[in-house]
């Protein structure tokens, strides 16, 4: 019964979405306030029904209702509760339902927080959001019904893919989806603006917080996915340039560009046409990501289902939305008015550079991801585009971004003082040069360019705070004065400083972990040892231990440093009974910011066990950097000047705060 309720709720949500996609937009054209006013209640109703449907599916999972096909295929009664719940989105149908749930949640949030949006803009935005809802609800109902029944119901389910039975699954997809789907807001606002034929600073002020929120979650989602792949796939790699990873990286890159161009638009009303295009493209890349992952054109851990009908359906959605919005753009963009001018050396100029290179980097990733698919479709030749391609294209294109990044906040709008900015950056350059020299002098092995990478990372980290140092007159004014000025700095200034520093931190982790890792692949008998980066690992032997729905074979390793026992590592192999599937569980010990990583191979008869041990210096910085970036995003979001619906602060400085109104 409950499963059917969930199914019907989805149908009702579709009906509401259909109404919402037509009536408010019609109302906006005919200036009918009543029709426009329907948008809000319809959005709430849609959210309620989709949430009900999602709850119904969750119920089926939690109670192990094996009369539902989806539950049979992806659950097992012995599975721990957390994986029963996260298993809801650990499959094609459920993950799409989550997608739709987040989409409707965003619509409802706009309806709720957007009360002081201009009526017509609000009606149009919600209308466009509903069109996306319609497409995806239809897709779920017609090709991917999560509530299909099975008669007779089997006694037991087939269990969830063991790889997905991990806390990572509970967190990674929801974070990622909030990011992907959050960009639909930028899309809807852009389409609404094109329908209205009016884009102004107020529009940018509306779009920015939504984009920033989505970006923040996407950042965390990608980092979480990367860490999950690192510890779960057992190879210790943190980024594989797998098409599915690229699918999430592309919207992140263009979303980052969008965030920055929206700033220009908000402050200076410049780059309007470009910002709108970027908003459309960012969501188009999110849709492309969904297509790549869900259509099964790729072979990957993420491709749960390979069903051509679904691939075609998503492709149609993709074409309709991307094609439709770009056609509208071509039609209306020329009518948008040009904005303010700026000198090449200015905040705007720096942000234009940022946009250019981020977009070019996105394009490079796009080519590398889709070229093999296109080539195979056209010539039948199968190729693989691997990490070398991306290292040779993405790397050089991101280099200018990292170099310009610290300068941008130091430049004034309209016309910046390059000399002043350069003076403020002297200390960052100094830090970078010293670090490069030190690393080049002391590091053994590793690529020749790696010390420069470390220098660049430290330049980005220290340079990120240059504006705050300038603003606070640190070392030039009394210390108390500087502290007061730092406290008075708007949180968005702190936010961008943190986000920029986070980029540097991630880069530092990437450089260190790829340039100076040590690895040993050995076959050890109990009592034998292996040494790696100053750590001695002694293999103690193998033991068996049962888990809730698997049996583990555990290899015990004692880690000693200078003779003293510092840690114990227990890499294991799990045999999941329901699927008769083996899974390697790596064991990780963190020392400071670096990690020792051990995984265990299959037992091969004799009492030796194959083990792979890696030491990755500073590897945790990769993910810490992402968290710092997200934190920066959160701080910016908390800035009252950005807060949704917050009244605009008076233009002149408020007397209480001594510092002048900040430029950004």
């Amino acid at each position: 019964m409950i499963a059917e309720t969930g199914h019907y709720a989805l149908v009702l949500a579709l009906a509401l979405a259909l109404l919402q996609s037509v009536l408010p937009i019609w109302g906006a054209r005919t200036r009918d306030a009543a029709l426009m006013g329907l948008a809000g209640p319809l959005a709430y109703g849609q959210l309620a029904f989709v949430a009900l449907s999602f709850a119904a599916l969750t119920h089926a999972y939690v109670t192990s209702d094996f009369s539902v096909v989806n539950v049979v295929e992806n659950s097992h009664s012995a599975k721990p509760l957390i994986y029963k719940i996260s298993g809801v989105w650990g499959n094609h149908e459920g993950s799409l339902l989550l997608w739709v749930l987040i989409l409707t949640l965003f619509s409802a949030l706009v309806a709720f927080f957007g009360k002081n949006l201009p009526d017509r803009l609000r009606a149009d935005v919600l209308g466009v959001q509903a069109m996306i809802s319609v497409a995806f609800l239809l897709f779920v109902l017609l090709t991917s019904n999560p509530f299909a029944r099975l008669d007779p119901a089997p006694m037991e389910g087939q269990d969830l893919n063991p790889l997905l039975q991990d806390p990572g699954l509970a967190i990674h997809p929801p974070l990622l989806y909030v990011g992907y789907v959050g960009f639909s807001m930028a899309f809807s606002f852009a389409v609404a603006a094109l329908i209205e034929g009016k884009v102004d600073a107020a529009w940018a002020r509306w779009v920015r917080p939504w984009t920033l929120g989505a970006w923040l979650f996407l950042t965390l989602g990608i980092a979480m996915g990367s860490y999950w792949a690192y510890y779960e796939l057992g190879w210790g790699g943190f980024w594989f340039w797998d098409p599915v990873e690229n699918a999430s990286l592309m919207p992140w890159l263009s979303g980052t560009a969008l965030l920055h161009s929206a700033v220009v638009m908000e402050k200076r009303e410049a780059l309007k046409v470009w910002t709108v295009l970027l908003a459309l493209l960012t969501f188009a890349l999110s849709l492309l990501g969904t297509f790549l992952v869900r259509s099964g054109v790729l072979t990957s851990v993420h491709a749960f289902a390979v069903d051509p009908a679904r691939g075609v359906a998503i492709l149609i959605i993709l074409i309709v939305f991307v094609g439709g919005s770009l056609a509208l753009y071509a039609l209306r963009a020329p009518t948008l008015k040009q904005g303010g001018m700026f000198a090449p050396v200015s905040r705007e100029g720096a942000l234009v550079l940022n946009n250019l290179f981020l977009t070019a980097a996105t394009a490079a990733v796009f080519v590398g991801t889709l070229y093999p698919l296109a080539l195979e479709a056209m010539t039948g030749e199968k190729i693989s585009v691997g990490p070398p391609f991306f290292n040779n294209t993405f790397g050089p294109l991101m280099l200018p971004v990292m170099l310009v990044m610290p300068f941008a906040p130091l430049l004034a709008w309209k016309r910046g003082d390059a000399a002043r900015a350069a003076r403020a950056m002297v200390y960052a350059v100094g830090v970078a040069v010293v670090a490069t020299a030190l690393v080049a002098g002391f590091a053994r092995g590793g690529p020749t360019l790696a010390p420069l990478g470390v220098g660049l990372a430290l330049f980005a980290i220290t340079g990120a705070f240059a504006e705050l140092v300038e603003r606070s007159k640190l070392f030039r004014a009394p210390f108390a004065e500087s502290v007061r000025r730092l406290r008075g700095a708007p949180s968005s200034t702190w936010g961008s400083a943190l986000a920029h520093a986070g980029m540097g931190v991630t880069l530092l982790g990437v450089v260190a972990a790829t340039a100076w890792p040590s690895e040993a692949v050995v076959a050890l008998k109990p009592g034998q040892s292996v040494s790696i980066s100053g750590y001695d690992l002694t293999f103690e032997g193998v033991s068996q231990r049962p888990g809730p729905n698997y049996a583990s074979t555990i290899a015990a390793l004692t880690v000693r440093k200078d003779g003293a026992v510092v840690r114990r590592l227990e890499p294991s192999r799990r045999l999941y009974a329901a699927r008769q599937m083996d899974l390697t569980e790596a064991s990780i010990a963190t020392f400071g910011l670096s990690q020792l990583y051990a995984s265990m191979g299959e037992a091969r008869g004799d009492d030796a066990t194959a083990l792979r041990v890696t030491y990755k210096p500073l590897v945790t910085l990769i993910w810490f950097g992402a968290v710092i970036m997200a934190l920066g995003g959160g701080l910016s979001l908390a800035d009252r000047r950005l807060r949704v619906g917050a009244p605009r602060r008076a233009a002149k400085p408020v007397p209480v705060s001594a510092h002048p109104a900040p430029a950004e």
């Binding site: 394009a363 692949v521 076959a523 599937m581």
Partner: protein
């Protein structure tokens, strides 16, 4: 940036139009430059870094030269796995020809005799294949799509299609 800063950020109304045009031109030039650089990077990288997918028979037919980096696809030949410390040797077969593979490292979880496998590495002078990566998808119906397609094309496909559709 090579664009010269204009004398004033607030040009007189009379000059405004031409400044706008000049700046616009400079911007387009910059965009063109970045796009050209990106295109050049992408094309060179594609030329240098792509790796072709081959089955053992194709390697023989095409006469691939030693030193070529390839993706080798096929089935793990039954009874061919030899573990020697941390090094493992096995043969990849497409049921017409075999290719001996050497790999130092841990094999993926679903590496099994008779199952499909894709290894990336370099063709050696002695006709063997030195792999640095061995890939397996984590699925019990595992058969890399690449391998399945190739084997279907060669008429060697024996499994049912459901294998790929899970």
């Amino acid at each position: 940036m090579t664009i010269e800063a204009s004398p004033s950020a607030f040009p007189s109304p009379r000059r405004r139009g031409s400044t706008r045009k000049r700046r616009r031109l400079a911007l387009f030039a910059l965009v063109g430059l970045v796009l050209a650089a990106a295109t050049a990077l992408v094309l060179t990288a594609l030329d240098d870094t792509i790796v072709f997918f081959r089955t053992p028979s194709e390697i023989a037919q095409r006469g691939e030269v030693p030193g070529t980096r390839l993706r080798l696809g096929g089935l793990v030949k039954a009874g061919s796995i030899v573990q020697d410390g941390a090094t493992v040797r096995f043969a990849v077969t497409d049921n017409a020809r075999d290719m001996p593979v050497t790999y130092k490292g841990l094999l993926p979880d679903l590496f099994r005799e008779g199952q499909g496998v894709v290894s990336e590495g370099v063709l050696q002078a002695d006709g063997s294949f030195l792999a640095d990566t061995v890939l397996a998808k984590h699925d019990e119906n595992y058969m890399p799509k690449d391998v399945a397609d190739r084997m279907k094309a060669q008429g060697l496909w024996k499994g049912d299609d459901a294998g790929a559709a899970k």
